[in-house]
């Protein structure tokens, strides 16, 4: 309706106004695009270019090796074992995040006392710096004075203090658990937002049909959550897969390489083994693995936009 008013006296004027607007629009986005190209697009192309070189990190001198880096990467056992570790970490922590996340969201959707306070407190682990999270957990994991070992010893669950991070499979389990603790609030918020939009009539109808709490969850809640859960899982898969800080600061990839994921391997190649070219190859290799999930997410979100 308003556009019709804007249509103005003559078509020629409208036309030139539209061109002016288009120009203004491009002018407004231009700085963003410039920065984008300088700090994202160019480095991305540069990263691919680097992966074709052999570069010694301290001097940054190197020479062209073509696809040799890739041949070595795919031929080496280290890439595949690291990928395997990466998958174990991602699947483990993501599963716990979704289970805890959905469970907590369902609880916080109930009519409880101080609900909004509970909802904001539960977000804290997600927003706290990974450095803070790691320091706190390492203090709680302390073998002599840590609270966790103390409680477990007291309760008689264990006879000796547990070495949480220094041996396997404890290290992987600890990292997965702390990852779940740190990131499950993300699932809580997203699921909670969706839960609030489920029409109560659906539950009423299910109750009349004789569905219990469990039945209502399976027949009403879960189907309604399906869409948002798919998006959450895709996003978190990408984010958990590329996680560096948490694992590096908790175990450094150890013991030996048992918790070493691809981002840690890239870091080790570049600054531990001084092979910057090879490191870039591993980074690109990791990106290739992630590409599937990125494409799935993009098609999902693009698809949703068309609907609305």
């Amino acid at each position: 309706m308003t556009v019709a008013v804007l249509g103005g006296p003559t078509r020629a004027r409208t036309f030139s106004l539209q061109r002016q607007y288009a120009l203004l629009g491009m002018l407004l986005i231009a700085p963003t695009i410039l920065v984008f190209c300088a700090v994202i697009v160019y480095p991305l192309i540069y990263a691919i270019y680097l992966s074709l070189f052999s570069i010694y990190t301290p001097t940054l001198q190197g020479h062209w090796v073509g696809l040799d880096n890739f041949r070595q990467m795919f031929g080496s056992g280290e890439f595949w074992t690291t990928l395997q570790t990466n998958v174990i970490w991602t699947v483990g922590t993501l599963t716990l995040q979704v289970v805890f996340g959905v469970g907590t969201a369902l609880l916080l959707n109930q009519n409880i006392w101080f609900r909004s306070l509970a909802r904001s407190l539960v977000l804290f682990p997600y927003f706290v710096s990974t450095v803070v999270a790691v320091l706190v957990w390492r203090w709680m994991f302390n073998d002599v004075y840590g609270i966790l070992n103390h409680v477990l010893l007291q309760a008689g669950v264990v006879d000796l203090p547990v070495d949480w991070l220094g041996r396997m499979p404890n290290a992987m389990a600890s990292v997965i658990l702390i990852g779940a603790w740190k990131y499950f609030p993300f699932v809580v918020i997203a699921v909670l937002a969706r839960l609030q939009t489920i029409p109560p009539q659906l539950y009423e109808a299910a109750t009349i049909d004789g569905a219990g709490v469990w039945g209502r969850f399976w027949d009403v809640t879960l189907p309604q959550l399906r869409e948002v859960l798919v998006v959450i899982v895709l996003l978190r898969t990408i984010w958990d897969f590329k996680e560096f800080d948490l694992i590096y600061l908790l175990t450094g990839g150890g013991p030996v390489t048992s918790t070493q994921t691809l981002p840690l391997l890239v870091y080790k190649q570049a600054f531990g083994l001084n092979a910057m070219g090879t490191a870039s190859t591993y980074a690109i290799g990791m990106l290739l693995v992630l590409l599937t999930f990125m494409a799935l997410y993009l098609s999902r979100v693009g698809h949703e936009k068309e609907q609305t």
Binding site: I40, L107, N111, A190, M294
Partner: protein, 277 residues
């Protein structure tokens, strides 16, 4: 599922047990930071301190470079936020309210860079910083943080601006306002809550960032809190946990301030960040 009006006691107990268990590590951090050293190593450990002390905070502020790192983090996170929000507001406004060739494609590129792992970009960025001569400066981190905050901010702001009604802007235009006049008088005030949410998010992410800081800055003259505090852990002979817990609490201060005053903006940012179902 919820009974209207009546609070459920059972659900309250279960829910609050979960919430308290979730934040227990953070409570433990705060408690440890105010315990005197000798109580820290008492067996069995006490939950609440017998005597409260602030000596660890004083030690932290007087005998460590903590305040310097704090300043660096403040400068980096604030500059990144300002840069990204200004660019993002204009960019998002352009993407939402103007039509020109290539617009949809730009939006798609923005979304895909939002998913790009830092580990891919960090090595070229490192080489670029060395080449341009800004390695080991605060500026290098502002540039690096733009790589993940700009796509994110654009995406958030785009969602916020798309949800604001267009009518008011058109009305202002009909009344003879210029496009930029309408932007300042109508669009900006409408988008303000979204802008605040975006700024809060960008600030927190910049404040918490560790990976780029680890690789790009290798001197105390530009080190932010995250790598700085980890350095305090690595370089000390015996780990002073109470000092580190005090540092952790201090490091979380901006976050606590945001939670107290701007909590609704955080939740709103979530809703717009591409997970809405």
């Amino acid at each position: 599922m919820t009974e209207h009006g009546t609070k459920s006691v059972g659900a309250t107990i279960v829910a609050w047990t979960v919430v308290l268990a979730t934040i227990f590590p953070l409570l433990w951090m705060a408690i440890t930071s105010i315990k005197p050293q000798q109580e820290l190593f008492r067996m069995p450990p006490m939950f609440l301190p017998e005597n409260v002390t602030l000596e660890h905070y004083r030690n932290l502020l007087e005998n460590t470079p903590f305040l310097k790192y704090f300043g660096h983090s403040l400068v980096i996170a604030t500059s990144t936020t300002l840069l990204v929000v200004v660019l993002g507001v204009f960019g998002a406004y352009s993407l939402v309210r103007f039509s020109y060739p290539g617009r949809e494609r730009i939006a798609l590129v923005v979304l895909s860079t939002y998913l790009l792992p830092s580990v891919v970009l960090v090595l070229p960025l490192y080489l670029m910083m060395v080449k341009v001569g800004v390695a080991n400066t605060l500026l290098s981190l502002v540039i690096a943080y733009t790589t993940f905050s700009l796509p994110y901010a654009l995406w958030l702001l785009r969602a916020f601006m798309a949800s604001a009604p267009e009518d008011l802007e058109w009305a202002a235009l009909v009344d003879g306002a210029s496009r930029l006049g309408a932007f300042v008088d109508v669009v900006l005030p409408q988008a303000l809550p979204g802008i605040i949410s975006t700024a809060v998010f960008t600030f927190i992410v910049g404040w918490n960032e560790y990976f780029y800081a680890l690789i790009l800055v290798n001197s105390d003259s530009a080190r932010p809190l995250t790598t700085g505090v980890m350095n305090m852990l690595i370089t000390s002979f015996n780990i002073e946990w109470s000092l580190l817990m005090a540092a952790s609490v201090m490091m979380s201060l901006p976050l606590i301030v945001i939670f107290v005053f701007l909590q609704s903006h955080l939740t709103r940012g979530f809703a717009a960040s591409g997970v809405k179902g």
